[in-house]
Point group: C2
Chain length 398, copies 2
DNA sequence: GACGATTTGTTGTTAGGTAAAACATATTAC
DNA sequence: GTAATATGTTTTACCTAACAACAAATCGTC
């Protein structure tokens, strides 16, 4: 692996080195939530004196703070702990069919506030933007004095064009080719970046959840509306040419399957469905925890059959993903995580036999670790991206 | 897109900047086969004087040469053309079931010599290594005086662990867990890197073939033994955690399909097979061009039915790949390219309806452009990687 | 055919960032 | 309490790229 990246064919000028190094250090602090300066020195390979200068600048800019050393029981002079500064925050927005959720998230992935604004009906773009902008205005009033809001990230349940944040299709919201990011920018004045919700979840799990420290992973999320996912390869999110990558929900898993809203048939998300489980369990409108508890407690053979049927199809999608992407971890979220919780050995057995031997030996299936805040954290990450890429754009020195 | 990459968390020291810039410039020259210095200035964003210094060092190291300016009909002082130096070469090796092919490939992807050494039977690793080492010794004698051999790249029809070049499984050669790279290093004294043959083909098409200038693509190759592939995303090869990524041949395309040697069933490569076409056409042991010519000329409805049946299954794999990876190009090689040549509109129609609308609008299917030298060029790229990453390791200055 | 405009190569100078070395400091081990 | 160890701090030196000024080579125009 190379230290610096040359794929874009851009050269490196002198002060870009500084920017790059600031970015590297800030990212390490961001991901770690508290890391000694000595560890920064080791992990970056930079000189002690250089790290001191970089950390100094980041502190001056208000992006990180230094805390007293841990009682570490280590020989040698203790090293101060670098922490994400509480000042820098991002706003995360997640429109859904029955509500718009808005949160303030700190650097380091801490959710400071979270408000859920129910909508009477499935919101149009204008409604969702209006509700969100209202909430943003309130949060702004609350946080603006004590914090610096770097921007807004939106996690949308649909296909989002990365370049400009246009929602190409959000089937359950009924949105088609809607410039959501642009509308939110106009309504709030903040820079807005939008992405698919499962992609946001992937980033969150990758940095702060079950994927910490894993460079090659696949995240699959089962939601009320369908199945989405995301890919991290060599530590980078795979977005594809326009940002639509990760749609594992429309992988073919059943040649004789039924038609899907996407136009094809036999898709993973037509076979593996949350509502089928709810129906069998005679539940309506429950949250994830309740569904999982009921599912785990269920003893009916019909339930067991349905669980295994769904896991059979999930295994097909996993086999395809493992063979084509060779991940070291597969993280299951939403009701897929619950399905796995009910019969882990059943799925494990299929994952241990269906993919090719070499890639299957390298992979393990785990449940997601982040809870309800996953999308907020992932969306905020979109907004932090600019600061993490170029910390020198934030705050002032002197 | 960031100018420099920080995903590995390494910082940037001062002389690494120089290495990086040398690498960027060399890669541009390598990929372009002849590029004016002024274009290097524009594409890197570096200063004229800096480019002059970098090019000067690369020339001194014997990695590039400068040629007279083109008669360009442009206002202003003409800019000399930077070309890959003829001196730097790599050796490419491709073991197959009936022969071992060895080639000398120049920087810039030019195949200088190519020798095919037939083997009486399917070679064992020892036999293949011995045949290859023989050929390498001869080529070394021929080239050593006038050229500098940077190393050896091996394209293996099987799963290769990237880290150490161990062949985990080459089904048609019957190789299992064989340290091929290590054995070749011992036999030749050169550094050896090995990879899957389809991955090598992907790299070759991406740099010099149908994928030139495309950052997000999928390559699918149909060989006598099966179907392999590779992924380029954001300009980088996706290898996965151990190097096994790209095995599209074992994507499920038929729920009621037959068992595959991989242990699963309904795989793409059990349904889409070259030998079925050969049987129908009453051909044996023909090369790609003959197969394609016969296939295109065939008028029998059985042949047409089989072609369409195979394209139906191929379309499923493409749908999955398009939905999950959102590429802008899909490149078909080997007999998949021939299949496509017979009925392009048939496959295009499926690609235009089965994937999700947004990603399918962004993708086009094309045939591979590189011929028989594809694997040699891709394998050589493995060997060039070290020099391209750190040109300062090659040659001497002063 | 000469002159201006334009583009690029060349040369010398300057600014800026990191590494290295020497010293200072805080902790553990004995 | 002293030695060993690890890390923070300060100063210095080196290296790289940018910049500016000048030179050179081409095209277009009168």
């Amino acid at each position: 692996m190379t230290v610096v990246d040359s794929v874009d064919g851009r050269g490196n000028s002198n002060d870009r080195v500084r920017r790059h190094n600031l970015s590297v250090v800030l990212r390490l602090v961001h991901r770690s939530r508290g890391i000694p300066r000595s560890a920064l020195t080791r992990q970056t390979g930079l000189n002690r004196s250089t790290i001191a200068a970089l950390v100094g600048e980041l502190v001056e800019r208000g992006l990180i703070v230094e805390a007293e050393p841990d009682a570490s029981n280590q020989v040698g002079r203790p090293s101060p702990i670098a922490l994400p500064a509480p000042r820098a925050v991002a706003i995360a927005i997640n429109p859904e069919i029955d509500a718009v959720t808005v949160a303030v998230v700190g650097l380091g992935g801490t959710v400071l506030t979270r408000v859920r604004r129910p909508t009477p009906t499935v919101p149009s773009v204008a409604e969702a933007v209006s509700v969100a902008a209202d909430a943003v205005a309130e949060l702004r009033a609350e946080f603006e004095k004590s914090h610096t809001i770097v921007g807004i990230g939106v996690a949308v349940p649909g296909l989002v064009r990365a370049r400009d944040g246009v929602v190409r299709l959000a089937p359950h919201l009924g949105w088609i080719d809607e410039p959501v990011a642009g509308a939110l920018e106009a309504a709030t004045g903040y820079p807005v970046r939008a992405a698919n919700d499962a992609n946001a979840g992937t980033v969150a799990e990758s940095i702060f959840g079950a994927g910490r420290g894993v460079a090659d992973l696949i995240y699959l999320n089962g939601g009320a509306s369908g199945i989405g996912g995301g890919i991290i390869s060599a530590g980078r999110v795979i977005v594809g040419v326009e940002g639509y990558a990760g749609e594992f929900g429309h992988t073919l898993v059943n040649t004789s399957g039924t038609a899907c809203h996407c136009g094809a048939s036999g898709c993973l998300e037509t076979e593996v469905r949350r509502d089928r489980l709810l129906n069998l369990l005679a539940l309506t409108d429950v949250d994830s925890d309740e569904l999982e508890a009921t599912l785990v407690a269920a003893r009916s053979p019909e339930v067991r059959r349905e669980v295994e049927r769904q896991l059979d199809f999930l295994a097909v999608a996993l086999r395809n993903a493992i063979n084509t992407l060779n991940p070291s971890k597969i993280i299951l979220g939403g009701f897929l995580s619950s399905l796995y919780a009910v019969a882990p050995q059943y799925l494990d057995a299929m994952v241990a036999t269906q993919p090719l031997l070499a890639p299957r030996e390298a992979v393990s299936v785990v449940r997601s670790e982040l809870g309800a805040n996953r999308l907020m954290i992932g969306a905020a990450e979109l907004a932090f991206e600019g600061v993490l890429d170029d910390p020198a754009s934030f705050g002032q020195v002197g």
